[in-house]
């Protein structure tokens, strides 16, 4: 791990300069903070319109069996296709091959080639065709073999799908889902291993969700399909085979999660850790390690990148006064940057420490397995950042 220690400590050095001035400001803000700390989150401005999805959030709890994320996505597709004859799936190898990652297993047999379409290798083409079908009353689910290949089609996602509702003054809606694995897989190099969360999340008109668990996968994909607007569903290849316990309610075909709402995966009081997709698992593991050292971390699973659940994040930060953001994507202009800004704007006076941003390294993904590991956040990176935020960082000599 020498490289990552290096990156983080390098960052710590530059932070420590800021810390001085930040501490000065903290004194100043102390007064204001006391006034604000009545706990109300009504000061938060949610600058985003959240169109109602066809579901309401309920709090489910009863434990039941385990399913993996692949099964969760597959069953969500299956149920939505069975419930709504206008829903259809389209993409490279989704039919006879059952999807490059077998997410569409069994769907061709069940729904036939009219509703499970194997496309030629034309991402720009089938994305545009999907948007057209959505203009005209169908609900396409467009699968990208990986989101890296959605780059060929991004014009239709941004300029066609995301903007048509606005440009037609609400006359056209585009109920389409773009889904597929996003972010780093394993050993597939720079052109297959990028996170596009911040790319899509920066565009008004799009909704962007990133499931972590099987519950997320089922609830968010179903919500995305039922949603009247274009939704980008960023899955993670390395999670497909991972199993999670799910309640009977989650398995019910009516189950659905609200887009725009984060989930507190673990409650805590000392530091808030935000994460999405695979990084949620890392954040939870980091919280377990921190707990052993007496630090109580609150883990927020963002679930939705756009709209971003600023209310939940800020409420948590107002409680813990410390924030660590975690993402696999590049740091610059990333999701962490946006979360940090939101907290600075709405809860600056509550911060007791500089916000810590853990992100992928600012380099194209290395092919070498050891470097690949170093280029994406690891659990220990999150632990160290949380300790720094709690002023519990070990000295350079003992960590290095």
């Amino acid at each position: 791990m020498p490289l990552f220690i290096l990156l983080l400590e390098d960052k710590e050095k530059s932070w420590s300069k800021c810390n001085l001035c930040k501490r000065e400001r903290r004194k100043m803000w102390g007064v204001i903070r006391q006034k604000m700390s009545t706990g109300s989150s009504s000061v938060l401005v949610l600058g985003q319109r959240i169109r109602p999805a066809a579901c309401a959030f309920r709090n489910y709890s009863s434990p039941a069996k385990e399913i993996n994320v692949r099964e969760a996505l597959n069953s969500a597709l299956d149920e939505e296709m069975s419930a709504d004859p206008t829903v259809f799936l389209m993409g490279e190898e989704v039919g006879e091959y059952q999807g490059a990652y077998k997410i569409s297993k069994g769907l061709l047999d069940k729904y036939g080639p009219e509703r499970v379409l194997d496309t030629p290798i034309t991402e720009a083409g089938f994305t545009g065709i999907g948007v057209g079908a959505a203009y005209h009353g169908l609900k396409p689910v467009v699968e990208f073999m990986t989101f890296n290949f959605s780059m060929q089609a991004i014009d239709h996602i941004i300029n066609s799908a995301a903007k048509s509702n606005y440009m037609s003054a609400g006359q056209l809606s585009v109920p389409i889902v773009f889904r597929g694995p996003n972010g780093a897989a394993a050993g597939v190099g720079a052109q297959h291993s990028q996170c596009y969360a911040s790319w899509y999340a920066s565009c008004p008109g799009l909704k962007v969700v990133a499931p972590y668990s099987s519950e997320d996968a089922r609830g968010l994909l179903k919500a995305a399909i039922r949603d009247p607007d274009p939704v980008v569903v960023l899955e993670n290849e390395l999670l497909y085979g991972e199993s999670f316990p799910v309640s009977a309610e989650v398995l019910d075909s009516s189950f659905c999660l609200p887009i725009g709402k984060a989930k507190i995966e673990r409650e805590g009081k000392d530091v808030t850790i935000t994460a999405f997709s695979k990084m949620v698992g890392y954040a939870i593991k980091a919280a377990e390690i921190l707990a052993k050292e007496g630090i109580s971390a609150e883990v927020i699973n963002l679930r939705s990148i756009r709209p971003l659940d600023r209310a939940t994040i800020n409420a948590s930060v107002r409680k813990t006064n410390r924030l660590v953001t975690v993402e696999e994507g590049f740091p610059q202009h990333g999701v962490g940057a946006e979360i940090c800004t939101s907290v600075i704007e709405d809860s600056f006076g509550y911060l007791d420490a500089p916000v810590e941003r853990i992100a992928g390294a600012d380099v194209p993904m290395p092919y070498a397995a050891n470097l690949e590991r170093l280029a994406v956040p690891q659990i220990e990176d999150i632990v160290r950042a949380a300790k720094r935020a709690c002023y519990r960082a070990e000295s350079v000599a003992s960590t290095a």
Partner: protein, 470 residues
Amino acid sequence: MALWLRKSLKTINNFKSMMGMINHSSSSPSPSFNQNLRNPPVIFIDSPTYFSSHRYESTRAEKQSDSVYGSHCHAQVMDFPGGKIMFSPVMRFISESTQERVHCYQVLDDNGNPITGSNYVQVSEEVALKMYSNMVTLQIMDTIFYEAQRQGRISFYATTIGEEAINIASAAALTIDDFVFPQYREPGVLLWRGFTLQEFANQCFSNKADYGKGRQMPIHYVSKRHNYFTVASTIATQIPHAVGAAYSMKMDKKGACAVTYFGDGGTSEGDFHAALNFAAVREVPVIFICRNNGWAISTPTSDQFRSDGIVVKGKAYGVRSIRVDGNDALAMYSAVHAARSMAISENKPILIEALTYRVGHHSTSDDSTKYRPIEEIEWFKVVRDPVTRFRKWIENRGWWNGKLESELRNTVKEELLDAIQVAEKVEKPTIAELFTDVYDVSPSNLRDQEKFLRETIKRHPQDYPSDVPL
């Protein structure tokens, strides 16, 4: 299950009729190139002839074989941008298909005998033997690297088996000054140009000697020295790149051309269409070589397009095109040779559709028996093997025999096993390489990081991989 089998069998039948059972004695139509659309009669917008029609004077107009209006010789014609257009009283739609598919140029039959009447570019004994030994080398390289991946020594591999003739014969007909923009199934071009087995192994093992510094997946070769551009994982992006390079080469008057390779699947990407169109409009020296091998991972060509393959698309874009038996090294060699001289002397793009078959799985992440019948694979592997066919030809000429064959195979095998062992032992790229190639001059934060990294390693040498030099 039943569905894909049906489809696959349909494909095999198409292939058989396309490749095995062509009636060679029927004289193929003389290549009817379109009239020169490059230099249409100059028409000014206020010219009285613009859009005006008049009686068609000549009643002896050349009867084009593909004309659907041939019999209406008294029809009116119109000067239209691009050339004269004849009017017709008949409402007839151009058919989406022709009764007979575009013929496939072939020189050697399956037994390695030249077809009577076939015209081809002569190949000297020396070149023929180099072609053959390169094809064999490519085959052995694939077998050994594939095995190395199965043993977990490299992470990924894709073979070129079945497509050796396209690889080697096309490369043989080019010169090293021609810039190559490959997909991932053309390592043979690099082999022909002198990339050594050691160099191939270095890339696949991502060691210090790899020209890509270990930053790419295996088989994503690059060699500036050989004018061979980095293989891109993203399908079809190399096609417009080749056109751009060709445009530059035209400006430079280099007397060379750009050559790009891609699969049948790649032709569905917009990049293919933009590239052909631009190449035609800009009149650039580029050769498009499509390896139509029947499959794009599990997608058969019947799910990829409904045209008569790729060759007909060239005509639609105004690009001179030919369909070639890609498993016939002599036909490939001749077609690329002719294409190159036309491309350079006339500044024209040329499209070659090479019919072949992907005998191996798509890559080491694929099991193709799940979606295509084993008999289909076997048929192409045994009956239509391009290497065997070429071998028969050189044997018939007395240039080759069983003894030379076993010598060659043994030497190449040994050389390869050696290369792999060496590549595995060579250290990884040095630590300094972690900080290069993004910035021209390293910014201070990277310099600080490097310094800090080196200090950390000094303090904790045991945590540092021993095969990465400092």
